[in-house]
């Protein structure tokens, strides 16, 4: 079981002080949070991707590479990578490079993005969201697995004799998760490739999460990747904890009431009962988190959103310390009763081992570097 955190990189005013961090402060805070995540023993740090204020989450591989250089163990991931509006060729290059720089500590979560104008800003149409996600990911999947790609699609300039460089580390492309809150097509996409499926889980009732995951598991089996209970599932979650439950409620309430996403809407009491948000003692967070299994089955990755709603950096770091304290109990709880055939989330090491070949750092294409012709063309 992998346990980690994800950030959307929002710059939000602290409602208790009225102070808004600068972009620079927020970017540095993101790095500090990632390093703290590794320090307390978490497995994953994932960053979102946004191309508009008030977010600082553009250029995700820059952030992840910088964090990767200052950490040893933590997996660097995304939540999410915009597969709709980002050129799949650039994704292939950027994340393969990140693999090499970080020793394979990389995976990605694909998402479509929910900011309307981002599509036209990048020359796309939001009505093509699903077709873009389907076509772009199919190309990305090939770019990481085929040395020389001839390709033609609807949304991008054709490729003839193209080799994406660097090649994936050890010939093992990064593992990919597909994130979606409510689109069955994306659950189907994840199932088709045998990739992971991640449900954000934090804004919606658990019943909805359960049904989306059930669909993914069923189709994972349908597409021949193994029994439904061996599909690779990830969930989001969020909490605010203090040793004393009432302190957590009192401290978090103004942040919740003014939060960009759900602020000025439901009460904190309503929201915690209707969604997985847990406010309380570490023991309460532990118990609630372990109950997620009851809805989706034994799963592989739990990511928490911790740095949001304008919470100051010091508070976020304290939250991570507390998460670190319950981490052994979380791990033990998730392991309890977990059938032996339920796999862990794939890692670079497991993917290289599964490929059954010795680590090869580069797989060379035989194409012509100058003309870009494919091997077939060169041979003929």
């Amino acid at each position: 079981m992998q346990i980690g955190i994800f950030t959307v990189g929002d710059v939000t005013t602290d409602p208790t002080t009225g102070r808004t961090p600068t972009e620079h402060e927020r970017i540095r805070a993101t790095v500090a949070i990632a390093k703290k995540a590794e320090e307390v023993g978490l497995d994953v740090f994932a960053t979102g991707e946004h191309h508009n204020p008030p977010f600082v989450a553009s250029a995700p591989t820059t952030t992840l590479a910088y964090i990767g250089a200052q950490t040893e163990r933590i997996i660097l991931s995304t939540a999410t990578t915009l597969i709709t509006t980002t050129d799949p060729v650039l994704i292939a290059e950027d994340y393969a490079k990140l693999q090499h720089l970080t020793g394979g500590r990389v995976d990605l979560m694909m998402g479509r993005g929910n900011t309307g104008p981002v599509y036209p800003w990048f020359g796309k149409d939001i009505r093509d969201g699903i077709p873009l996600a389907v076509e772009n990911y199919h190309l990305l999947h090939r770019l990481w697995r085929e040395d020389v790609v001839d390709w033609e699609g609807k949304f991008r300039t054709p490729l003839q004799g193209f080799t994406s460089t660097p090649r994936p580390l050890d010939g093992a492309p990064p593992f990919v998760w597909h994130g979606s809150i409510r689109s069955p097509e994306i659950a189907e996409q994840a199932a088709y490739y045998g990739d992971g499926f991640f449900h954000n889980h934090i804004f919606w009732p658990q019943e909805h999460t359960r049904r989306m995951v059930e669909l993914y598991r069923r189709r994972f089996e349908h597409h021949g990747h193994g029994p439904a209970d061996t599909a690779i599932v990830g969930l989001g979650g969020q909490f605010f904890m203090r040793r004393n439950s009432q302190d957590a409620w009192n401290e978090f309430r103004p942040y919740f009431d003014n939060a960009p996403v759900y602020g000025h809407g439901p009460s904190l009491e309503e929201f915690t009962s209707q969604t997985p948000l847990t406010v309380g003692s570490p023991q309460q967070v532990l118990e609630r988190t372990l109950s997620f299994r009851d809805h989706v089955g034994d799963y592989q990755r739990q990511l928490f959103l911790v740095d949001h709603a304008g919470l100051p950096l010091a508070t976020v770091l304290e939250q991570l310390e507390l998460l670190g304290e319950i981490l052994p109990d979380l791990r033990a709880g998730f392991a309890e009763g977990r059938p032996a055939h339920v796999p862990d989330a794939p890692t670079h090491a497991s993917l290289v081992a599964a490929a059954g070949r010795p680590p090869v750092s580069t797989v060379h294409a035989a194409g012509d570097d100058v003309t870009g012709r494919s091997p077939e063309a060169v041979r003929s």
Binding site: V134, E135, P184, E185, Y192, W204, R211, G265, T275
Partner: protein, 202 residues
Amino acid sequence: MTRRVAVLTAGLGRPSTSRLLADRLATATVDSLRTRGEQAEVTVVELRELAHDLTDHLLTGFAPPALAEALATVADADAVVAVTPIFSASYSGPFKTFFDLLEDGALEGKPVLLGATAGTARHSLALEFAVRPLLAYLRATVAPTAVFAAGEDFGGTADGALSERVARAGEELAALVAGRPAPARADALAVPVDFESLLNRT
């Protein structure tokens, strides 16, 4: 087969004139269905009780439990009676919000009877120029007669009296429902689209 009639009423008063009209329209519909040999059960959705939930759903993107049940009641119904007070020449805010939050396609082809209330008869055409186009956009099958009731209508017995218009509207809605198959509710998560066809579509 028992038909399900969902009654949506957006009145804010207690008691509410819109509810009064909605109940009369529902009764007329059920009576007319019965003469056609069909039984019906009526479920009333009072939007006043869901006012906070409507706003929460707009802000969070999901329906709290009571609103989720109300949305399902309307989506699953064989017929809908929808009544709003007229505010500023149109439907009330909660009435519009409820329709904004229905799943896409939930009203497609569904028989709907419209009603509205206001203080004076000068608002009566709001049903035709404001409320009916909303339901047309949602591709509902709207009964030709929409019933407007001003305060004075509850005392009148002259030609065109409220009771006659209610009876005619109920007949029309029942005629739209009778003999139709029960609505099959599409569950997007139950029947996944096959990925090969998604790939080939691009």
